[in-house]
């Protein structure tokens, strides 16, 4: 009997010929990533009382949630992690100004390879399935255990296969596709499951767009998610719990929007209704890459952000920032009235650099719209594609990019 990609990778990492869903296996960890919460991990590690981490070359630490430090408290945790990193000889450390959002940096610096088992103290570690890795989030204390032992138990997940065919309609992107899927399956629709995306439409997507699919799969509970790579794949006779087929032309005719306060509360844009918007955010580990900034720059070029609205742009990494600067996207966005934040998480996690007041509405290219996620518990967050975020910033209300672009033509 053939194996899915998740089964194949876990079998290899557990030293087994084959595994099947619901079995518990102990797998060797190839890569262990943390961000600022390395401070929590470090404390648990110290409590366990083992002197050295199992393998400093397999640990990567990337500051992103609060950079540069927004408070004295954060500054102290940053400092403690820097000291730990130096003492343990962890070379793969990306400090302020050296990296950016953890998932983007892990990917663009080539840390992730097909077939690896990757764990990260961040839920969106599923992103790295776009590189063929079994990559999943764990908590800080569990990570301390990995730092000690270099291995971890996993329940082998059953796999949901999602095959996507057809052509993307104008202004429809990977973000719309995955929001559509989350709306269909629900916030717990892939709980404890692996997800394999495939099909001609997925194979035609850029790596950046594929990362949007694997990143957001977390929001339907997925343990891991994959898009195809050349090096490793499922067996032809692999057994799936469920197969879903999506045709882009038939199923996704307009941009999709996740409405407050749940990521699975997804509607086509036209069904959301009139919505005045105060803040637009373009960024995050979901949609802060070069192609996202390019699309947004295309929509806002020659136009001005609506007086009621502010547009916050956050390149996902230093490298994306530089590329976007050289390509002129940042100049276009700034000329339209956007503010550019330093690469990092910023308002996505509701900590700094763009917090919402009570009663404010935000349309964001990020990945969560939970109550109070970006500020006041009485604010609202709508999740959408970079094109919709850019169009909304210009219109000052939730807008279809096509309408914004055409309006100027007729003006």
């Amino acid at each position: 009997m053939g194996m899915t990609l998740a089964e194949k990778i876990l079998a290899r990492a557990a030293g087994r010929a084959a595994v099947k869903p619901d079995e518990i296996v102990v797998a060797e960890v190839d890569l262990a990533m943390s961000h600022e919460n390395a401070d929590l991990v470090r404390k648990s590690f110290a409590e366990i009382g083992v002197a050295r981490v199992w393998d400093p070359s397999k640990i990567v630490i990337i500051f992103d949630h609060r950079i540069p430090a927004e408070s004295e408290k954060t500054a102290a945790t940053h400092k403690a992690v820097r000291e730990f990193v130096a003492a343990q000889g962890i070379a793969n450390f990306y400090d302020v100004g050296r990296g950016g959002i953890c998932h983007q940096v892990l990917a663009e610096r080539g840390h992730v390879k097909p077939g690896m088992v990757v764990v990260g103290t961040d839920s969106h570690t599923t992103t790295h399935g776009a590189f063929g890795a079994f990559a999943t989030g764990i908590g800080a204390t569990e990570m301390a255990g990995v730092w000690v032992e270099g291995r971890l138990w996993f329940k082998v997940p059953a796999t949901i296969r999602i095959e996507v065919g057809g052509e993307f309609q104008p202004w429809i992107s990977a973000k719309d596709l995955i929001l559509y899927i989350i709306g269909k399956l629900g916030a717990a629709g892939a709980d404890y499951r692996a997800v394999e995306f495939d099909g001609p439409a997925v194979r035609g997507m850029s790596r950046a767009s594929r990362m949007v699919l694997t990143n957001l799969s977390m929001e339907m509970g997925a343990k891991v998610a994959f898009t195809p790579v050349d090096e490793i794949g499922p067996d032809a006779d692999a057994v799936y719990e469920r197969v879903l087929r999506i045709d882009l032309g038939r199923d996704i005719g307009e941009p999709q929007v996740a409405c407050p306060h749940a990521v699975d509360n997804v509607k086509p844009l036209s069904a959301v209704g009139e919505l005045e918007v105060h803040q637009c955010v373009l960024g995050s580990c979901t949609n802060g890459r070069l192609e996202d900034l390019q699309i947004a720059a295309g929509v806002v070029a020659g136009r001005t952000v609506h007086p009621r609205t502010r547009l916050i742009v956050i390149p996902a990494s230093q490298a994306v920032y530089l590329d976007a600067m050289r390509a002129g996207y940042l100049e276009t966005l700034m000329t339209a009235g956007a503010i550019i934040n330093p690469p990092g998480c910023g308002p996505c996690v509701g900590v700094h650099q763009g917090i919402l007041a009570a009663g404010e509405v935000c349309v964001s290219s990020t990945n969560r719209n939970f109550i109070g996620r970006m500020g006041s518990k009485d604010s609202s967050v709508y999740l959408a594609s970079p094109a919709v975020v850019a169009a909304t910033a210009i219109a000052g209300r939730l807008a279809h990019p096509q309408a914004v672009v055409e309006e100027a033509l007729h003006a």
Binding site: E36, G49, T77, T121, G139, T141, E142, V148, G221, I371
Partner: protein, 170 residues
Amino acid sequence: MPEGTLILRGRVAAVLGDNIDTDIIYPGRYLNITDRALTAGHLFELAYPEIRAHLQPGEIIVAGANFGCGSSREQAAAALKFAGAGAVVAGSFARIFYRNAINLGLPAVVAPEAAGLCRAGDEIEIDLASGSVRNLTRGSTVAAAALDPRAIELIEAGGLIPFLKRKYAA
């Protein structure tokens, strides 16, 4: 929980719905608190501050499906534990929250029908090993998933840290 017993008894502090996410349990703005005991002060701060205000040691939180969805933040499980919760019983759990709870020694019990059976203030009894939730106030019982032996080992040790500490003490 007394050493050696896998029966837990306590009052239900609150019965919550489905998809209680980690931002509801512990807001992102307090993630730079890395002293676990201090996380307790922000439990349910934005959505249900009254639960935190009234929670008594050993009381049990009951919820619907997919409890703890969202972020991997361990503070969500830590805040529950250090605010005094004796256990969380839910229809199902998001996987990272579930692992975090067990790793911190906080019993997390899957019982799909518990939210329908319990009201705040009820006295319930949970058998972690065999898997059942008895509502002593109402005299009814629902099935729960028995905890995996690996999870029981961690709960009995008081969490992953004491467990590993013992293993590597030499």
